[in-house]
């Protein structure tokens, strides 16, 4: 099945670039999420944590 793609990509030079892009993308997103989460407003976070406890009258 992959013989079709294989014909054109048998010696894919520098295919490692995709792995590198993936790694960089992940690191940016992860560090970003980390930073923003840790600097978030305390009351806002507390409000979010309460959502399941305020959702219905049924306990």
């Amino acid at each position: 099945m992959f013989s079709f793609i294989k014909k054109y990509a048998e010696s894919l030079d520098g295919v490692g670039i995709y792995g590198d892009i993936g790694l960089v993308l992940f690191v940016i997103v992860f560090v970003g999420v980390l930073f923003v989460t840790l600097t978030a407003n305390k009351e806002y976070i507390a409000e979010l944590a309460q959502i399941p406890l305020t959702d219905s009258k049924n306990d």
Partner: protein, 712 residues
Amino acid sequence: MEVEKFNYDNKIVRDFAFASFIWGVVGMLVGLYVALELIFPQMNFCQYATFGRLRPLHTNAVIFAFVGNGIFMGVYYSLQRLCKTPMWSKALSRIHFWGWQLIILCAALTFIQGITFGKEYAELEWPIKIMIALVWIVFGINMFGTILTRREKHLYVAIWFYIATWVTVTMLHVVNSMCIPVSLFKSYSAYAGVQDALVQWWYGHNAVAFFLTTPYLGMMYYFLPKAANRPVYSYRLSIIHFWALIFIYIWAGPHHLLYTALPDWAQSLGTVFSIMLIMPSWGGMINGLLTLRGAWDKVRDDVVLKFFVVAVTAYGMATFEGPMLAIKSVNAISHYTDWTIAHVHIGALGWNGFLTFGVLFWLIPRLYRTELYSRKLANVHFWLGTLGILFYAIPMYWSALTQWSMLRQFTEEGILKYPNFLETVKAIMPMYYMRAFGGLLYITGTCTGVYVLIRTAMQGSFQAEEAAEAPALEKAYHPHASEHWHRWIERRPIQMLVLALVLVAIGGLAEFLPTFLIQSNIPTISSVKPYTPLELEGRDLYIREGCYLCHSQMVRPFREEVARYGEYSKAGEFVYDHPFQWGSKRIGPDLAREGGKYPDSWHYNHMDDPRSMSPGSIMPSYAHILDQELNTSLTERKIRAMQMLGVPYPAGYDKVAVADLKKQAKEIQASLKKDGIQTSDSKEIIALIAYLQRIGKDIKGEKQTTEQAEIK
């Protein structure tokens, strides 16, 4: 803001709840049965009840029927209340429910007949896989419709886990199910050999991640705070570990293929990411357990919290053990042994099983507006289950270490101390007895719990619609003075879905593309040729009977394996194997170099009654293969399908395939006759013998590498 009144749909929750625990009992019963079959091979009393046919029934029932319905129970209950709106479509809810149960029924009917795709946890053949896709899409539309029409603008963390579950399972299912159908009940994997192995275990491990873990983490984040009546320990931690978990988990798949013919760089990626995975996984465990800080006295009195605490602890144990097993030196010991089984069942019985019942014991009384029928019996369930987990796992660790130490022992003269694999099987029989006892304890606990739930339902009055009210969502969003960045994505569930999909896709692509496209990853071996038509038919019989569930086909480059089985397996040997059959467990010996080891007559007698050739064997009898006629009506189509997949049969070969098959069959018939066995040349056993005599033979003509292989 105007307060709107609406009703939550409890009927769909109740339906999924009942389906979950009913299938749970069924799936566990099959599990107990197959565990006993290893001790009492007579229990393989007919072809429909052999271990090879029933084991997929057990795994699929407990994963997709028990846990699957459990997921939907949890999602349908919590999503409505977290979004403050009923499920978007009652009709879709019904279609989802009945569609899913129909799939389970089809699974049961097809597996016992040996209709199987031949890949673990993906055994369902293509028409049922399409049904799964359709039902899953229905679920997705219903779920997203609910999210998009919500009255609570913040998406609580449980919902992100549900979104990630939905999108990733879709990706996994589509990619791993790629196949060429040959008939309504038979198809071949589009991938072969090493690539198929990589795709399979990318799928398999992420089925664990995104079917057994993420939806249950979502449920933990909802039901644990509810049961304990306190918010989760650290909401920040839940945000961080969510993104880390979904990105890292995907890469871990190759840890199922350590020391196999998978390229080394892929194995190392699997190991490294598996170890990194400890962090986000334990983030979940810490969050769960520390939610109860200062409230541990509640656990003493509340059976629901007892189940949750053991569940989360089991989750922590399994997510530490897993990364340890992903280290090559540990894996060298554990792979193909019962250690893997122990690990699976700590997660399955502890995390999935106990969280499901914790939720059920919390949910059913509320749905039926009554108290739990008997807290005492629910506690009995808890203790039986907990003991069951221990009696299951500990014998399995013991059995793994016993078998490993026996298999690798050499005498002073430098030959194997236990050259017969059966000696190790005999040594671990007592542990198999204990494990079956553990399973019995667990299922007894489950049945006790099911009894309590049914009595609870009978004594209560079901509330099909639950009235609720909430203010409508403001059309225009006015940000707070200090807006949290994460709110941007929380308010955009579609974008969250896309970003989650991108992140989970990266791992797969990074591991697949080089394996598939770079020639040097799968070096060509010139002596490896496609299977003959007769061998191909025989291979399909091997798949039908589930032989790969007890026998591996992958010799690792260890001295003890090369001494026992022959030359270690090379990547290029498997290029025509659609699907690959490397196996995950050695209940019986590896078969990678079986070709030419024994005469045809040995195989004939062995299939008829394994104990006639191997005294003490626990393998089922396959006498039906000696009696049944080989079906060659699909042979031409099979050859054409293989050609489409790139297997180099000559053009037009499909037309002469059956003639070639008959010629080779006659040769095997003649060889059997020489050893005193009279048989027609059109029986299935002829094809199976042809295949078994071919496995691993192609490279035996090549120059041998050193027999003293070193551990890398």
